[in-house]
């Protein structure tokens, strides 16, 4: 019974999210969804009102004297030019006001630094997520579970955002605020975040949580949250990190603990086959079901699997889910075909490759492969792309050190790398006909 309600809640909220998201309107800081963010909001309102009141005083005095003490009213100017008493008063009063503001702020700061519960006992953290910033995507590692994945701006935003894309961005759902793989966390759980970066400084910020923290290369910063309300929360990278700083959104999917457990089980099942989790939800459901029936079919697990199916169908992004459903079907067909061939088919590689390209590579090399020379080379007339396959694989897998070209071999699953290389070798005017297989990539990675 309980479960049904949560499910329905999830469904309703996710529908609401998708339809209203782009219209949601804010004039003020959000109250947020944790106790801490509520405190921050209260502090903000307090200091805002104090400033408004002082402002009324200052502007009031000013406008009164502008109105009353003007020469055109025939006023003779007064002669006074100082008064120690008044000066002491208007030094002392601000001091007192500031002390009054500083007290709650001190408490808030201590809470962020080392959280304590209502009894004043230090709070222990229930789980840890490591967040790594890359130009321009996030990686989430569930340290206790031993898996992780990349999270990147979705393809529809990414395509629409290009200059001259011809797409009206108002028609894109959650324009610039949607990712392929959101961070999924449980509600009512103390979560520790470890933040770092692989290249330049980024900053991880979800306004609803009430803080942001910089992700600094070579260092780890800590932060924590405990979200009270399941839902989807969005934020953005908040530290200038290069040209696509504006295209580095953060989406956090907060599930009820039981839904979260289900999600986790499915991830664990999947992570055996596919570390990346960049595979789509529906494929995941299949995996979960398969593994469910392979193992002792205990009730709980089947329940989980069904949960997942519901989730996939009512997923936060309806359109996306549909698209991936279709793709999944194609892929299964392909899989059967390619089984006999002993590798992935061209179509399958190209389809997956295009998808990966439009998420991972387009930022620098542009949708049509033209890049932005000299900093970001064009792939259209690239010797590497039209030349030796081994060199091409090397560039994409290992990156080019000292440049923005990252080592994708360690960031993407081998299938994706293989697909995207195949895609580039057969697009933008190239038709080498080469088919790079995941196995080729794995060989290089050894």
């Amino acid at each position: 019974m309980m479960k049904k309600q949560t499910k329905r809640g999830l469904l309703v909220s996710s529908l609401l999210m998708s339809s209203v998201a782009s219209a949601e309107y804010g004039l003020n800081l959000p109250k947020g969804v944790s106790d801490y963010s509520g405190q921050v909001y209260d502090m903000h309102m307090m200091v805002l009102w104090i400033c408004v009141i002082i402002g009324i005083g200052v502007f009031g005095a000013m406008f009164y004297s502008i109105f009353a003490h003007r020469k055109s009213k025939g006023i003779e100017p007064a002669k006074f030019s100082h008064s120690t008493t008044v000066e002491i008063i208007w030094t002392a009063i601000p001091v007192l006001i500031l002390i009054a503001i500083a007290l709650p702020a001190t408490k808030g700061m201590m809470q962020m630094d080392s959280p304590r519960d209502a009894q004043g006992e230090p709070v222990t953290m229930d789980m840890t997520v490591k967040i790594t910033g890359y130009q321009w995507k996030w990686r989430y590692d569930y340290l206790d579970e031993g898996f992780g994945f990349l999270s990147t701006l979705t393809a529809d935003s990414n395509i629409a955002r290009q200059k001259g894309s011809g797409i009206d961005v108002n028609t894109v759902d959650n324009y610039l605020l949607d990712v392929d793989n959101p961070l999924v966390i449980p509600a009512n759980t103390n979560i520790r975040f470890l933040l770092t970066s692989d290249d330049v400084i980024h900053s991880w910020w979800v306004p609803e949580f009430g803080w942001k923290r910089d992700a600094i290369p070579g260092f780890i910063n800590e932060a924590w949250t405990n979200v009270k309300k399941p839902g989807t929360y969005r934020g953005q990278c908040a530290e200038l990190c290069g040209k696509d700083h504006g295209y580095m959104p953060i989406v956090v999917e907060v599930l009820s603990p039981s839904d979260y457990d289900a999600w986790l089980a499915e991830q664990n099942g999947e992570s055996v086959a596919d570390q990346s989790a960049s595979a789509d939800e529906s494929v995941a459901v299949e995996t979960a079901q398969v593994s469910g029936s392979d193992n002792t079919p205990d009730e709980g697990q089947q329940d989980n699997a069904q949960d997942e199916k519901v989730m996939a169908e009512t997923g936060a992004d309806e359109a996306n889910a549909e698209a991936s459903d279709q793709q999944a079907e194609e892929m299964t067909a392909d899989d059967q075909a390619s089984q006999s061939e002993g590798g992935w088919s061209m179509e399958k590689l190209m389809a997956r490759g295009e998808e990966v390209y439009n998420i991972q590579c387009l930022a620098c090399h542009k949708m049509d492969g033209s890049g932005m020379p000299p900093a970001f080379p064009s792939l259209i007339d690239s010797q590497v792309v039209s030349g030796d396959v081994a060199k091409h694989i090397d560039v994409v897998v290992n990156g080019v050190s000292g440049t923005a070209m990252a080592p994708f071999g360690s960031m993407l699953p081998a299938e994706d790398v293989a697909a995207v290389i195949t895609y580039t070798r057969n697009s933008f005017g190239h038709d080498t006909g080469d088919r790079v297989q995941p196995a080729d990539i794995e060989a290089v990675l050894q």
Partner: protein
């Protein structure tokens, strides 16, 4: 030429050297930029930079030559002299702040950055997650062991000698100053020459030290934060000693030419102040870079 009275203030009507200085600096930095950028590709000879330097050298001679001429022409009264003094004091002060930035970097790295990387205090995660096994001891070339193992210069060898050299030179220049105040020109010149020699010896040993560091100790600019702070601090200091020594030489030549009087020798004093400043910075370096 008219001498200037006490209630006037000498204002030169035209100044051509500043614009030459600007052009010189501009050419120098463009040359340097092109040179640095070529390091990534194939290093080129920085002709433009040399040209800029040449212009700057001409400019220095021209500018100061003009000032010296005006000074000898008695155009500078007490009032002008006071302006020069204020100018020099605050210029040296700005130099102090420039060094402060690098000392600040040294302190920050030692007290915050390195311990953090080593996971001290509440920062365990950084060490465990990113740099496991790294021990935060100074000197360090960082958790990635950049540029490989290196040794440091021992404080109580050459650096100690250098400290004594500079301290002595501060004494000798003071003796020279007193001699000048006593109008004993010959004594002044002798002690100035001693100061110049001490400065030059210091520089010689400093170069020795660098050669030793690069050739035998594998201590280079690229040896992590230690190498960076070590060479940048001692390097900028060395540069200032070089300039200081050149200034000492110029002053000595002027003394030989008969410039400066017991009651009017701002140029001499300015150089002496500068030299003391260089000396004090060295003491800081000796303690914080070599000893500690």
């Amino acid at each position: 030429m008219t001498e200037i009275s006490e209630n006037q203030y000498y204002v030169p009507h035209k100044a051509k050297w500043p614009i030459v200085a600007c052009v010189g600096l501009f050419i120098t930095v463009i040359g340097a930029s092109l040179k640095f950028n070529s390091l990534d590709l194939e290093p080129t000879t920085p002709w433009l930079m040399y040209l800029g330097f040449a212009i700057l050298i001409v400019m220095f001679f021209g500018w100061f030559g003009e000032v010296i001429k005006e000074s000898e022409a008695k155009l500078y009264n007490k009032h002008v002299d006071a302006s020069f003094r204020a100018g020099m004091i605050w210029f040296i002060f700005s130099e102090v702040m420039f060094f402060a930035a690098f000392f600040g970097a040294l302190f920050y790295a030692r007290t915050f950055a390195v311990p953090w990387l080593g996971g001290e205090g509440t920062n365990l995660a950084t060490n465990v997650q990113l740099w496991s096994g790294y021990e935060p001891v100074w000197p360090t070339n960082g958790p990635a062991d950049l540029n490989g193992r290196f040794e440091t210069i021992s404080a109580f060898a050459l650096p100690l000698v250098n400290t004594l050299l500079l301290l002595t030179s501060s004494v000798t220049i003071t003796i020279a100053h007193h001699a000048l105040l006593a109008n004993d020109r010959k004594k002044t010149i002798i002690w100035m020459i001693a100061t110049v020699l001490l400065g030059a010896t210091f520089l010689f040993y400093q170069v020795e030290e660098y050669i030793e560091a690069y050739q035998h100790l594998n201590l280079t600019l690229e040896s992590g934060i230690y190498g960076a702070t070590f060479f940048m601090l001692t390097g900028f200091h060395g540069l200032h000693v070089t300039l200081g020594t050149i200034m000492l030489i110029v002053i000595t030549i002027r003394l030989i030419k008969g410039h400066f009087k017991a009651d009017n020798h701002f140029g001499f004093e300015a150089v002496a102040w500068y030299w003391h400043f260089v000396d004090v910075v060295w003491l800081g370096l000796f303690i914080f870079v070599y000893v500690l």
